[in-house]
Symmetry: C2
Subunit: 329 residues, 2 copies
């Protein structure tokens, strides 16, 4: 597998920033759940196989929610069963509650993400529970996991960490309190999500720095939306303060139903390209991702896709520029 | 004029980063020159007036090139004459050579940007001169300026500073050498441009840091294209190392003729929004820019425009979130 590593050894990452990063594909969950088109199980499996072949080793394959709510993800158990056959792939699912966690454990998911909305209003509207009720549910899920003898990881995903469209502001202190509460309740790790694209890079740096100071590397992942064009800038800011795991969606699908036409999640292929070009090894072949994007785009005809790299193509000097610099520095 | 300053006093900018920034509108030059549609002089004046009313105080109004090459900019003298009537506006023009500089001085431009391409191949293709021949031209332009008694500033714009589509790589050492040579030849200030969208934020940080170490605040401006989606990330990286001036195009027009369909220049309204949201005062009213964008879009029907903020709109919590944080911190 070839990568673009343009700063292989000479690039000095900022203090705390890493030369390696993981990009978790969440297009099959966060992406497809916001899209009307139903993608067949066979195509989902094709997507997972190609992402795996391109080097992706963490994929969120679906969500254990009632099929009547999200028919797009009704085949999550089947898709997960296939993903588990790929050696070294961490296949995760989203579980909104205890019931979902039971299914995730039954199906042998490698990781389950339990979403919590730091916005009280968003939490009630979306999960019909207060944030603290979700924390209590995580404690029950942890007990269930431990009793089952499963090694499935529990990730508490703190959404609307930078505000939300219903409530507007979400105090940082509340985000940090809930993040800590999730860990205290038994989550193995936590992530922070800018669910509606309100974050800016300085804010990201500040909040992620505080979060890392609080919980260290149990702060696992950054989840950004590109709603206001700052997705990559925010990812860069998070990387600078030591974050090495990012969620992203191929072709930038997904997004915010409250802002029709707006961009969706950070685009996988653009994010991987940025990281690789900065000398941050992702293990992912961008060219293979671009080919996969084209296939997925065919299955999503009529849907709005995003991303820029596919239009512009790779630079002429993708693999060379800084190698020469390194030689002459 | 209202701005969105969401981190008015509490936001700690990184060492060397500033709490103020200037966004120079270059849409009337870099934007329109790559667009087939001819925008009338009256509309250009309307654009300048509205940008000025929104708070913009630096605008590149056109280019003194032969009208047969760029008919879109044939009215630069007229547009400049109007711009000069607006108090406190620094109206700049691009001049590709001595002849253009003569016209800029005759017309009383406040600043002239002399482009130099650090890529030898690009320089020959685009300017029909080697980079060092451009340096020599700048020396003649400086002599002309001084002899004329004009106070027009000379900015040397080092383009293809991160590589180019013809030559591929452009060594950093060559970029820095040419930047210094421009200043030695008599340019008052220099800027660095990622003409074709090859830069990534880590590279930006590294090159701009080196450039600042070399020439201090005579390094004036950062000019990014969003060709591969990293325009805002690159601007953030440049801001972090102390850059306070950015070129941008309303609606993200302009761009790279070698990558059809690719994004153009960094989008003014998105960049201003990012800066303001980070607490960096630009003096520019984003809401007014969004209204202007809509008007300009009407004049450019059929052209591909870019940017994200206009689609998603301002966040609910634009002016409040961190004020509360500040009060409770």
């Amino acid at each position: 597998m070839s990568t673009l590593s343009v700063f292989p050894a000479t690039h000095a990452a900022p203090d705390g920033a890493s030369a390696r990063a993981v990009v978790r594909e969440v297009g099959l969950r966060d992406g497809l759940q916001s899209i009307a088109t139903l993608v067949s199980t066979a195509h989902k499996i094709e997507w997972i196989n190609a992402a795996y072949a391109a080097g992706q080793r963490e994929i969120e394959v679906g969500s254990f929610v009632p099929a009547r709510l999200l028919p797009q993800l009704a085949d999550t158990a089947e898709v997960l069963a296939h993903a588990k056959t790929l050696p070294g792939l961490l296949a995760s699912v989203l579980v909104p509650n205890y019931k979902g966690a039971e299914r995730a454990l039954e199906c042998g998911a490698g990781l389950m993400v339990v979403p919590l909305s730091a916005s009280h209003a968003h939490s009630l509207a979306n999960l019909r529970k207060t944030p603290d009720a979700v924390v209590a549910e995580v404690a029950r899920i942890r007990a269930l996991r431990d009793a089952s003898g499963s090694r499935c990881l529990i990730e508490g995903g703190v959404g609307t960490a930078f505000g939300c469209t219903l409530q507007g502001e979400v105090p940082e202190s509340e985000v940090l309190r809930l993040m800590q509460a999730l860990l205290d309740a038994g989550a193995d790790r936590v992530s922070l999500a800018d669910t509606v694209g309100y974050a800016d890079p300085a804010w990201v740096a500040r909040l992620f720095e505080k979060a890392r100071a609080l919980v260290g590397d149990r702060l696992w992942c950054a989840h950004f939306h590109d709603t206001r064009g700052m997705g990559l800038a925010n990812a860069y800011a998070a990387w600078q303060v030591g974050i090495t795991r990012f969620d992203a969606c191929l072709a930038g699908i997904g997004g915010c139903p409250h802002a029709p036409g707006a961009s969706g999640n950070v685009t996988t292929e653009d994010l991987v390209f940025m990281l690789e070009r900065m000398g941050v090894a992702t293990g992912i072949d961008v060219t293979a991702l671009l080919a996969l994007r084209q296939r997925v785009a065919g299955w999503l005809e009529g849907e709005t896709l995003h991303g820029t790299l596919w239009q512009a193509g790779l630079p002429q000097n993708a693999a060379r520029t800084v190698l020469r610099e390194a030689a002459t520095a």
